[in-house]
């Protein structure tokens, strides 16, 4: 468990860092997929097997393909110079490093009320019950949101022209 955690954490954070630092945006997209799979492995370590499956399907599959399509539809010119830093990169690095330190200190200082109960063995059934009973309205709202986003994305990308 301990060794697995460190291996997964190093692979995930390392590929996330490579994704941010790479100058070629297509390599960045490939490292992003490795990061998403690493996050799915983290879910497995947290005994959330359904979440891991959703992560691999939605992030490792759908969103990665979306991003690759976006790169292919927009990129012109030199691919090796397609993902450069802007002029405020040093300031962003300072902010990010400060936030890492602040977050670490606060997490270690807080007294977490960790429960001692054994982790549940089955996850899919209880999640389904919660989604279709207690959270049925957010569930339907999410469905409408996905429909609206689908139609909106098609209309924005298609550029509706006036016929008159």
């Amino acid at each position: 468990m301990t060794i697995m955690f460190w291996v997964i954490a190093i692979i995930t954070l390392g590929s996330a860092l490579m994704m941010v630092m790479n100058r070629n945006i297509f390599h960045s997209a490939l490292f992003m997929i490795v990061t998403f799979i690493g996050v799915a492995a983290t879910y497995l370590m947290l005994q959330a097997d359904f979440m891991a499956a959703v992560q691999v399907l939605v992030y490792g599959g759908a969103i990665a393909i979306f991003v690759v399509f976006g790169i292919m539809l927009t990129q012109r010119g030199d691919m090796k110079q397609s993902n450069l830093f802007s002029k405020h990169a040093p300031l962003a690095a300072i902010v990010a490093l400060a936030l890492i330190v602040i977050n670490g200190v606060m997490v270690l200082k807080t007294n977490w009320a960790v429960s001692n109960a054994a982790p549940p063995t089955e996850t899919v059934g209880p999640i389904a019950e919660l989604m279709l009973q207690k959270y049925v309205i957010p569930f339907e709202v999410a469905a409408i949101l996905l429909l609206v986003a689908l139609i909106g994305a098609v209309i924005i990308a298609k550029e509706v022209k006036k016929t008159s």
Partner: protein
């Protein structure tokens, strides 16, 4: 022994890497990728809390699924906007996007 703190520090570091990517990149698609990393870090937090603090209650995982749905909608609309802007300007460099500047 690996506990809640390890997962929280891990997800916080992932969030900050995503934040750095979103703040420091020039390509609009790279900024979207940084946002996805930040949303993933938030999901790890939700699942870790549901595992260690409210064990047996799956509300955290249900909310993580809602976050994934919203993130999918966001990336679809964001990429459609980037493609539409690219057709207009032949560029995905956010420093060239100056319509909303004062």
């Amino acid at each position: 022994m690996i506990g809640l703190q390890h997962f929280l520090i891990f997800s916080g570091t992932l969030f900050c890497i995503g934040l750095f990517g979103a703040l420091a990149k020039r390509n609009a698609i790279a900024i979207l990728m940084g946002l996805e990393l930040m949303l993933n870090a938030v999901n790890i937090n939700l699942v870790a809390f549901s595992r260690y603090i409210t064990t047996g209650d799956f509300t955290g995982q249900v909310f993580a699924i809602f976050v994934i749905a919203v993130a999918a909608a966001e990336v679809a609309v964001g990429l459609a906007l980037i493609v539409a802007i690219y057709r207009d300007r032949i560029s995905v460099n956010v420093e060239d996007f100056d319509w909303l500047k004062w």
